[in-house]
């Protein structure tokens, strides 16, 4: 029987706060170049709100039944993208339906979380798993990752792998398995470098490690972002008054670097506050995971927490020069309807778990 809890105001306020701030920031980032993106994002926020409500109202345990079919739908849509998808800047990531672009790889993140939660929930092993037991989950993540890499989309592939890793952390592994995993992980890096990464992706990482290499190319982007962030100082340049942003020295202002826009205009105080909001949301999700009534719900919350954490950590790390430039968006800040919808539905699922603790 479902025990209805009090409506989780904390969660709701947190996510609404981030959404509102995100829209504010998007306005500043786009009004001088592409004002239409702002209104499009607004619409997607509306749709996302509906999605959030629907996910929250639904009993998440019903989703367990749909996990595998949804997964198959997700993988199928990834395959469809590779065949009939829309190409922008050399990457084929979107399907256009009735003039609206959707990015299936975004939804795939939730579907992966669902299917992993379902699988691991069904098969508890008391004394710890061996590598053998990880075969199926690994396959479950490998398939979508391979398809996404073909688009190509290094960032999303990375997120999928990291979500998987986060969830795996919950599993009790035997020591031998853990050791093997570590070694495989260590070997995976050079192999990925030479075989899986495209040239421009390699260039980005090399430029990150040695910024002097390529001052007018990718390194230039990263340096302009750093300058924007630093120029914010403590109190920020003021809303709509950041020169890096408004004078177009900062590129990719609404995709990769919206945090730089925020940091330039709201300074350290604004940046720390925003990070605090995200941290709060992630910790709240972990708390929900700990308090979930069953394994499925716990894994679900962990997955959503992982999705949020890795997006925020990699994107902000990239903007701040701690990580190389990888195309990972900032949830509810970066322009992208599918991403907004995914995040809001994900948080809706958190709400669903929270209501039924």
């Amino acid at each position: 029987m479902i025990r209805a809890h009090r409506f989780d105001w904390t969660l709701a306020v947190a996510v609404v706060a981030i959404s509102v701030v995100g829209m504010l920031n998007l306005y500043s980032a786009t009004w001088t170049s592409r004002p239409q993106l702002y209104s499009q994002q607004f619409s997607w926020m509306g749709i996302g709100l509906v999605g959030f409500a629907a996910a929250a109202a639904l009993d998440y345990r019903h989703l367990a039944r749909l996990a595998y079919p949804l997964y198959v739908v997700g993988v199928a849509s990834l395959a469809v993208v590779l065949v009939v998808g829309k190409t922008i800047n050399g990457a084929r990531r979107w399907i256009e339906i009735a003039g609206i672009s959707v990015q299936p790889s975004e939804f795939m993140k939730l579907m992966l979380i669902l299917v992993l939660a379902r699988f691991l929930n069904d098969w508890p092993v008391a004394e710890g798993r061996s590598l053998r037991h990880l075969a199926v989950p690994a396959a479950l993540v490998a398939l979508p990752v391979a398809l996404v890499l073909r688009q190509p989309d290094l960032g999303t592939s990375l997120i999928l792998v990291l979500i998987f890793a986060t969830i795996v952390l919950l599993i009790r592994l035997r020591r031998g398995a853990l050791l093997t995993l570590t070694i495989v992980g260590a070997l995976a890096a050079p192999l990925t470098w030479s075989h899986l990464l495209k040239d421009y992706q390699r260039q980005r990482i090399l430029t990150f490690l040695d910024p002097g290499r390529d001052p007018a190319g990718t390194g230039w982007h990263a340096r302009q972002a750093l300058t924007a962030v630093g120029a914010g100082k403590i109190e920020g340049r003021g809303f709509l008054h950041g020169t890096q942003t408004q004078m177009h020295f900062l590129p990719e202002r609404w995709t990769d670097f919206p945090f730089a826009v925020w940091a330039e205009e709201w300074g350290f105080l604004g940046s720390a506050a925003l990070l605090g909001l995200y941290l709060f949301l992630i910790l709240w999700a972990l708390r929900l995971a700990a308090e979930a009534r069953e394994r499925f719900g716990a894994i679900l919350c962990t997955g959503v927490a992982g999705l949020l954490f890795w997006h925020v950590f990699i994107n902000v790390g990239m903007v701040a020069g701690v990580l190389p430039v990888v195309g990972v968006t900032l949830p509810l800040f970066s322009y992208g309807g599918s991403s907004v919808l995914t995040v809001l539905v994900g948080v809706g699922l958190l709400m669903s778990v929270s209501l039924r603790r």
Partner: protein, 621 residues
């Protein structure tokens, strides 16, 4: 699905660990932000501001050059160029630009091609798409400015020579400074792309003409679009523009000594022949009134876009139009040189004016026979000059000797550059006995002196030196430093520098002897026996001059094209104002080719409104 139960307690521990790792990760981010925004914030803000600042060079207007009568012969014209920054100028905008500027398909495609070929680094630098657009295009581009973001119209002055080919060598031309020069002249403030005077007065007075570039600081966005004053205030950026501008200083103007009407006449007179040169010098001051070298070229070619075809045309032309034949080439003077052995003999009493030698058409010296043009019979010095008798001068040469000849040549300033300083002038050559000892296997022979007296052998001088020589004869023995510039003025008209006549030396010859020579030479044109008697001279003008036929091939009797034609003259003979020297390369006989040209130039000089003709009452004997 069935819920097998609550998550195990150890899972809760994992969540705690995850939470701590999350906090640690965010702490790393916050620390990093602290360093960026608080630790290095000021430096980043400075860099952000530096992104906005562009220093735009304000071109200095180059000084104008005008001739002696105040006509402008070198000027500046504003040209307008269209620039874009490739990074912010999409290929789709090319069509719009083409439509507004009225470009045809070929031009538009060429632009598209250039935009495509731009390297990654150059994408952020402004690129010139159109050069020297007309007023119509300018107006249309200005009106449609908002439709074409990232497109800028920049102004730059272009050098223009209104007189076109007239005075080309004298004026010179400009072209871009080269990378080596930038290094050696870096501290003079030149920048890549600057134009520098390459020849003529443009080069000689480069420092005065150039002016000094100014600088304007502007704030632009990443596309290079200049920000308005309101924006500068709104973003609180005013402090970036303080004390940053420097005004441009216009170059000084140059006033020449040359009269371009006379210049045009001189070029026309010489231009009838394939190659040649002429100089007119003011006798009392050494100022150059005209210096013509043909063939010439149009210096405007160098100011605009010179095509490869133009360049090849100039450099590959076997007539070498770029060479200034008035100062850059040494020529055998031929018979115009005869005045020097004559004066040397007079000065040292080696011959009396009425002493006669007999000319039978040839002169034997040892094994060799030296020829004359005619058998002149018995002639004295004056007759020998007027009829240009070679035999007389062979005999005179034996008395004068090589070294005395060298001595008087140096006295008149030959053998070294005149000091004009224009177009890398050369100084001719005066041989001596010692030189022959050093450079000839058999050493010095008397025959060399005979040739030298006739202005052949190894004696050489420039057309400028020839004119200067006769000017010195006419002004009582003063060797001036020739000048082409009268004064330098500031842009506002203030006189900055005047050039009074500069005396180089005075010859050690009594002025009466010089006057005697000038008077004797009137016979060349006005005596029926004179070598140039056939040349028509205006009735109220008396000209004193000398023909010369300088053989440049092996001596053949009646050789025509193997000789350069010379004529040097001063006028009016009894109160000389102007000295003229004309050289026609491969012209054949001086009397037939060079003399008429020189007289034509003299007529042009005396026709000009502020020159009074000498009347015969001016002291003619």
């Amino acid at each position: 699905m069935n819920a097998p139960g609550q998550p195990a307690p150890d899972l809760r521990r994992r969540f705690r660990v995850m939470a701590m790792v999350t906090c640690a990760a965010f702490a790393v981010l916050v620390v990093r932000l602290w360093k960026l925004q608080i630790g290095d914030g000021a430096a980043h803000l400075r860099r952000a501001h530096a992104n906005l600042v562009t220093d735009v060079a304000i071109a200095a207007v180059r000084g104008r050059i005008s001739d002696a009568r105040g006509r402008i012969v070198a000027d500046n014209r504003p040209t307008y160029d269209v620039y874009v920054t490739p990074r912010f100028f999409k290929e789709s905008m090319v069509a719009r630009l083409a439509k507004i500027a009225g470009l045809d398909h070929a031009r538009a495609d060429a632009i598209r091609g250039r935009l495509r070929d731009v390297s990654d680094v150059a994408r952020y630098r402004p690129m010139r798409l159109l050069h020297d657009i007309d007023r119509d295009q300018l107006a249309r581009l200005e009106t449609a400015r908002l439709e074409l973001p990232g497109v800028r119209v920049e102004w730059s002055p272009q050098r223009v020579y209104p007189m076109k080919t007239v005075g080309a060598h004298l004026l010179g031309y400009l072209n871009e400074i080269g990378p080596d020069e930038l290094r050696t002249r870096g501290d003079e403030g030149y920048q890549a792309g600057d134009l520098i005077g390459r020849a003529g007065v443009e080069r000689l007075f480069e420092a005065s003409l150039r002016g000094r570039e100014g600088r304007e600081r502007v704030l632009t966005d990443a596309r290079g679009v200049r920000r308005s004053k309101d924006e500068v205030a709104a973003f609180r950026l005013g402090h970036l523009l303080q004390d940053a501008g420097v005004e441009a200083r216009a170059g000084h103007n140059i006033v020449l000594t040359v009269d371009f009407d006379l210049q045009r006449a001189a070029e026309r007179a010489v231009g009838r022949y394939r190659t040649g040169a002429a100089i007119a010098i003011e006798v009392e001051t050494g100022r150059v009134l005209a210096m013509a070298s043909r063939p010439n070229f149009d210096p405007n070619l160098f100011s605009g876009r010179m095509t490869a075809g133009d360049q090849q045309g100039l450099e590959g032309d076997p007539r070498r139009p770029l060479i200034d034949r008035t100062v850059r080439e040494n020529y055998f003077p031929g018979s115009i040189f005869k005045v020097l052995p004559a004066l040397a003999a007079l000065r040292d009493g080696l011959v009396a004016p009425d002493e006669k030698f007999e000319c039978k058409g040839r002169h034997e010296l040892g094994q060799r026979t030296f020829r004359c043009t005619h058998a002149h019979g018995k002639v004295n010095l004056e007759q020998a000059l007027v009829r240009s008798c070679n035999v007389y001068f062979y005999k005179l040469a034996e008395r004068v000797g090589m070294d005395r000849l060298a001595d008087i040549s140096w006295d008149f300033g030959l053998g070294s550059p005149t000091g004009l300083g224009l177009n890398s002038e050369v100084g001719g050559f005066v041989p001596t006995k010692e030189w022959y000892h050093r450079h000839w296997k058999e050493g010095f022979r008397l025959g060399f002196t005979l040739n030298a007296a006739l202005g052949q052998g190894n004696t050489k001088l420039t057309v400028l030196q020839a004119a200067l020589l006769y000017a010195t004869l006419a002004n009582g023995g003063r060797v001036f430093v020739p000048q082409v510039v009268r004064r330098v003025e500031a842009a506002d008209g203030r006189v900055l520098q005047e050039f009074p006549p500069e005396l180089r030396r005075t010859v050690k010859i009594p002025p009466e002897m010089l006057r005697w020579t000038v008077r004797a030479l009137t016979g060349v044109l006005h005596d029926p026996h004179g070598t140039a008697y056939d040349v028509k001279v205006s009735r109220d003008l008396t000209v004193s001059g000398k023909t010369g036929t300088a053989e440049i091939g092996p001596q053949r009797r009646g050789a025509e094209e193997g000789s350069h034609a010379w004529f040097a003259a001063v006028a009016p003979a009894f109160a000389p104002k102007v000295a003229v020297a004309v050289l026609i390369e491969h012209g054949g006989q001086g009397s037939k080719v060079a003399a008429p040209a020189a007289v034509e130039i003299l007529h042009a000089y005396f026709r000009s409104p502020d020159v009074k003709m000498a009347t015969t009452s001016d002291g003619a004997p």
